[in-house]
């Protein structure tokens, strides 16, 4: 055995140390970091959007052309993880919605022009017409819409797709269709009345002919046009429904069809010859192929793309974000800066959740609101790029959003004011417990920021790091012994209809109403609002109610979150989808191929 004596090693070791010291001189962030108005950091998150309803004319194809777009070539999409689900009735995530537009079509969809979304008819000729006070909704299908084998898409296919959402195994998707169509409080009650296609026809959906779909709801529903844009509202053909196989390779109705899917390795899309641009007001068919690859680490992908190495120039990501290690570098170098695609992450907000059943005194919750060090917390998470400070529960991306700031406080927090409120509290807690998902060191640092802020106000904060599974498992139990945690949430579509009713009614379980917020007055108002059939009236009532809820400080608003992704030099048309919050794949093109 060769033994290297430490003495032999001392000279090279010290030389290395000296070399390290000499190379370690670094410029400070003061030169450009302090100038927050410029660079990628200046992302406007939570842009005020009005996802207006388009007319029948807007719903006609083709989609408004992307300026400078060229046809042809292969776009590489590198994402860390494969899609857990491709079955349209199981997809339930913004990025999944956005990317599945490449091969799937729905009744309605968001047409994005200049970053502004407009809900238009997709397979349907318009966003739907309601009658009977919102209890009946009628859709007419367009002419010329076809599956990838050329067969026309009919009303029966849409109906079958929606019927599937009742079936066992489809609990993962949104439960609105089962609940609305049977007039049930939750999915488990709904599936007792109708258990999916195996129970035969669902009477609540009528298809008088191949082109007409009529929904009959026991209770008035105002948000059907938005629900019709969800992936669950995609048509499925009975003879092509391969059960679990459909989750790996669904049958295409959009501009691309899936020609290969090796799970966790790759997904290949090729042009669908039977898709007609003049029927589609949303999607484009610029590149010839899309090659998805899964499994490469985000840092490696980002380095390849930002430095233009290998397939980097032709590569884009729809899931990965600019890794924190590269962010400052990407901001400094103008060539890399233009490859960062940043924008508001849909209607997502990040809030500090307070378990109201444990922190019962509103004065204590107000104290937490005042002492919460928003600026310091955002600093350890990455600075302004992660989002703008929030003062409201809902995101400005929600239709009808109104800015309000019930308890104004400086971003750094106001310890003096927090102490005042604590002094006024009847029951002043000596310690509070903050639970968080460990695994990334910035979460540990965030916990330290909170510990220091709470300590300044005289409250000892106990931190409980847990792994992801334990966090999801334990924190959302009704009797879980944790007082605070940070969580992001979003509405299911950009109206306020799913925010308060699905999270702040006291009869909801701890999974939905995780703060255990209970206010009898709010409950009554929510029940009244549930009976409103008019979309505008309902949205207005919910927006007004939001301030009543927030007066009780059930959560502390933190951020309207932003997302920063990246694209190769050769990729055109990349922007963050204003509703789905990730790079919209259906507008991408190759600048040269």
């Amino acid at each position: 055995m060769v033994r290297i004596s430490p003495r032999t090693a001392v000279v090279p070791a010290l030389a290395t140390a000296a070399a390290l010291l000499m190379c370690s001189c670094s410029a400070g962030a003061g030169a450009d970091g302090g100038d927050q108005g410029k660079g990628v950091a200046a992302v406007k998150s939570g842009q005020r959007l009005t996802a207006t309803l388009g007319t029948a004319k807007d719903s006609q194809g083709p989609a408004p052309a992307v300026e400078g777009a060229r046809s042809g070539g292969t776009i590489h999409v590198a994402n860390l993880n494969d899609y857990a689900h491709l079955d349209p009735q199981k997809i339930y995530a913004g990025e999944g919605y956005s990317t599945s537009l490449l091969w799937g079509r729905q009744l309605t969809q968001y047409q994005v022009v200049d970053g502004k979304p407009k809900l238009v008819g997709d397979l349907a000729t318009d966003t739907g017409t309601s009658s009977d006070g919102g209890r009946t909704w009628t859709y007419r299908l367009k002419d010329g819409i076809a599956w990838e084998d050329g067969e026309p898409i009919t009303a029966e296919h849409v109906k079958y797709g929606i019927e599937r959402t009742f079936a066992p195994g489809f609990e993962l998707g949104p439960s609105y269709w089962p609940e609305w169509l049977t007039g049930s409080e939750d999915r488990s009650e709904a599936v007792k009345k109708y258990g999916g296609p195996r129970d035969g026809d669902l009477d609540a959906i009528e298809t008088p002919d191949d082109k007409t779909i009529v929904f009959h709801f026991p209770r008035p529903q105002s948000d059907v046009p938005y629900m019709a844009a969800q992936s669950s509202s995609s048509p499925v053909r009975k003879d092509k429904d391969t059960g679990t196989g459909y989750d790996v390779r669904p049958f295409a109705s959009g501009p691309y069809r899936i020609t290969g899917h090796q799970q966790n390795r790759g997904l290949t899309l090729e042009r669908n010859p039977h898709w007609k641009a003049e029927t589609d007001p949303i999607r484009h068919q610029y590149p010839e192929r899309f090659e998805f690859t899964f499994g490469k680490k985000g840092l490696n992908t980002a380095q390849e793309v930002l430095n233009g190495r290998g397939a980097g120039p032709d590569t884009v990501t729809t899931r990965d974000e600019v890794p924190p290690e590269l962010f400052a570098e990407a901001g400094r170098d103008p060539k890399k800066r233009e490859l960062v695609v940043a924008g508001s992450q849909g209607a997502y907000t990040s809030d500090l959740y307070i378990k109201n059943s444990r922190v019962t005194d509103p004065e204590v919750r107000k104290a937490i609101h005042y002492l919460f060090p928003r600026e310091q917390a955002r600093q350890v998470l990455g600075g302004p790029r992660v989002g703008d400070f929030a003062t409201t529960l809902s995101s400005p991306a929600v239709v009808g959003w109104k800015k309000y700031d019930l308890y104004p406080v400086a971003p750094a927090g106001d310890i003096a004011k927090a102490k005042e409120h604590l002094a006024r509290a009847k029951h002043r807690p000596a310690t509070l417990t903050y639970a968080y998902e460990s695994g990334t060191p910035e979460k540990d640092r965030l916990a330290q920021v909170l510990v220091e802020a709470f300590a300044k106000a005289g409250v000892k904060l106990v931190t409980r790091p847990m792994d992801k599974a334990a966090f999801n498992d334990q924190v959302f139990r009704g009797d879980a012994p944790y007082d605070l945690w940070l969580s992001t949430n979003s509405v299911d579509w950009p109206t306020p209809a799913t925010l308060l009713p699905d999270g702040y009614h006291s009869r909801l379980d701890a999974l939905s109403n995780s703060t255990r917020y209970a206010n009898a007055e709010v409950d009554r108002e929510l029940e009244r609002i549930a009976r409103i059939g008019d979309a505008q009236e309902k949205a207005d009532a919910l927006i007004a109610l939001e301030q009543v809820v927030m007066k009780d400080v059930p959560v502390v608003p933190f951020l309207y979150t932003s997302v920063s992704q990246f694209r190769g030099r050769n990729i055109g048309g990349a922007s963050i989808h204003p509703v789905y919050g990730s790079i919209a794949a259906s507008a991408l093109y190759l600048k040269k191929s």
Partner: protein
């Protein structure tokens, strides 16, 4: 040097083995320099609270967050070279904005505490088990050999990775923080549980050889008790390998502890720790390379000094070992 050493020995009045070793050590310039560095480190660690009080900073305050102008909105030091200034001599930590010098000094305490405690337990366990097995022989020796084989085959790192969350959920109530002493104890116990094996194996072999030597035979013939033989005849002859092993094991524990903290299973926030500092340094390496340098160089110098010291101690005690 070895020959030189033995030549001189004959010309001098007889000395005890310890005095001979000290003399040999004193002549070793590298060893003396290493000793000076080690002594300096120990002194700095012991005096850390005093030094920090004089310096006016503590290792847990978030200076960068509380004082405007130190960190950018992204959490990077505004001043060049990691924010080195008259106020913060080694700069500030990116993100939380703690003082790097204070963190380093207190991090040294963490490292030394874990290392000395582990090494103390290792020395005691190793001596007891090694000498016992060597002296008794037979069944005890075979059992000892089996246990050593099992422990040497044990995946220590995996055990620690798996043990962390278990200890936390089993012994820490939901309404309390995991106490720092518990993290220290777990680390020390795990290092000790696996660290005693090499020492005990060396001692076993040494004692087996010694057992057959004339002076032990003579003591046995004179009717000395087993206790007397172990404590008065055998133990005084094994302190040299113990000392060598201990001085060489200490830097090993320091790096192992840093590695575990780097992986997130060592000492948690907010206790200052070098491994975690290096981990943070690697996250911000592109933007603030200076931050990586201080803990990196400190740990290098610290471990190198301990290794050189161990080397010198071995040379002094065992001149026959050719280098």
């Amino acid at each position: 040097m070895a020959e030189d050493h033995s030549d001189r020995l004959f010309g001098l009045p007889p000395r005890g083995p310890f005095a001979t070793a000290v003399r040999a050590f004193r002549r070793d310039r590298t060893g003396m320099a290493a000793l000076a560095v080690v002594a300096c480190c120990v002194l700095l660690a012991l005096a850390a609270p005093l030094l920090c009080a004089l310096y006016g900073k503590d290792p847990t305050s978030h200076y960068g967050q509380d004082t405007p102008g130190l960190l950018s909105a992204e959490g990077l030091p505004v001043l060049p070279n990691g924010g080195i200034s008259a106020e913060h001599w080694f700069g500030v930590e990116p993100g939380l904005g703690r003082d790097v010098l204070a963190q380093l000094l207190y991090g040294m305490r963490t490292s030394l505490l874990v290392a000395t405690a582990s090494v103390a337990v290792i020395a005691v366990t190793g001596v007891v088990l090694g000498v016992t097995a060597g002296y008794l022989g037979g069944l005890a020796d075979r059992a000892f050999g089996f246990v050593c084989d099992v422990l040497l085959a044990f995946p220590t790192l995996l055990l620690l990775l798996a043990l962390g969350p278990v200890v936390r959920t089993r012994f820490v109530g939901p309404g309390e923080n995991e106490p720092a002493w518990m993290q220290f104890t777990v680390l020390v116990l795990v290092f000790a549980a696996f660290g005693w094996v090499p020492l005990a194996m060396v001692l076993r072999t040494t004692v087996r050889a010694l057992r057959e030597r004339e002076f032990v035979e003579a003591a046995r013939a004179a009717g000395a008790s087993r206790r007397h033989i172990v404590f008065r005849e055998l133990l005084p002859n094994v302190w040299a390998p113990v000392l060598v092993h201990v001085t060489l094991a200490l830097p090993g524990v320091v790096t192992a502890e840093a590695a575990l903290s780097f992986l997130g299973v060592g000492i948690d926030e907010p206790v200052p720790d070098w491994g975690r500092m290096i981990s943070r340094g690697s996250e911000v390496f592109y933007d603030d390379p200076t931050y990586m340098v201080f803990p990196g160089v400190t740990i290098l110098v610290f471990v190198l000094a301990f290794n050189l010291l161990g080397d010198a101690v071995r040379d002094a005690l065992d001149p026959r070992t050719a280098r």
